[in-house]
Symmetry: C2
Subunit: 198 residues, 2 copies
Amino acid sequence: MGISARQFEEMEQRVRGSKSAAEKGAEEVPPVHHILLGVDPSLRGTGYGLVKLDGDGPLALDQGTIKCPAKWSRSECLVAITRTLRELVQKHQPTVCAIEGLFYAQNAKTALIMGEARGAALAAVAEGGMEIFEIAPRKVKQSIVGYGNAQKIAVAKMVQRMLKLGEVPEADAADALALALTYAHLNKRFAIDPSQKI
Amino acid sequence: MGISARQFEEMEQRVRGSKSAAEKGAEEVPPVHHILLGVDPSLRGTGYGLVKLDGDGPLALDQGTIKCPAKWSRSECLVAITRTLRELVQKHQPTVCAIEGLFYAQNAKTALIMGEARGAALAAVAEGGMEIFEIAPRKVKQSIVGYGNAQKIAVAKMVQRMLKLGEVPEADAADALALALTYAHLNKRFAIDPSQKI
């Protein structure tokens, strides 16, 4: 079920345009991260995924959704998000975090609640001392599936293949794993459109 | 410069309408908090104020603004907010927090960034185990100055009087102290329009 190094290479080409190996070799090499954290924050279901990069391709160390039932208060959810992410950072020691980029919510109230979940997540991750990059949802879909309007299930299935997972990951966890994988793609070589450090 | 117990009483009356002492006595008494934290969150300048309530009226234990210069990244600001509030909670051990209520930002992007600051603040405060209440800015102005559209300087000057401060507090810190004082007013007796727990 897993994908080959060649397929991985092809995925990068899709988001980057084609360049010769010689051109690539001459470019600046950004710092290499071996353990990546992806986070897709939301108040009731923050997805997270930890990906290890080594010679054999990407490997999922951990993944899941921080589920906060509707009966929990907003502040209880924020504590669950911040604590869970802090524990994951301490356990796996990632050196970089990719988080879903700013999107424009339907209205200011939705954006404010969305922002609160992001703020709790970002504070916990940033306290871990790692760099944080935003990647837009469209770019993740384009990188993983090759199509910026891809459906969620297509992303999840591709994530499953790339990480050789026994099952299709849950939607929120899949998005988080996809963020980490996209970061790896975009930053393996000089990016024409890099993710934005925040 | 300080205000008398009678003036304090009058302020409560303004936001609550008049009731006889007998009516009040028959009402349910909410839990009494002696150390209150007020927080007015924003990415670059989160105001905080700690107020102690005792027999001699309210007293300011601590106040200030968590200033985050424009050159700091968003995540650096969020870490500063979360760390500073956590330290203040550990130092002063407040039992309740009043935070500026949801307001409707001009647009979703502003609301999202505002929300991030709120989320970092709320997570740090909620981890301290205390209850958190939202109070709308209009209600704070009404409670402190007696007029929902009062100017910021009028709030700051009234806060100075109420807490017998040597100087007019900075705007953000004054708003935070005003939140704590308003919570004390609204919850001293059964509130007709209580602050909203979040």
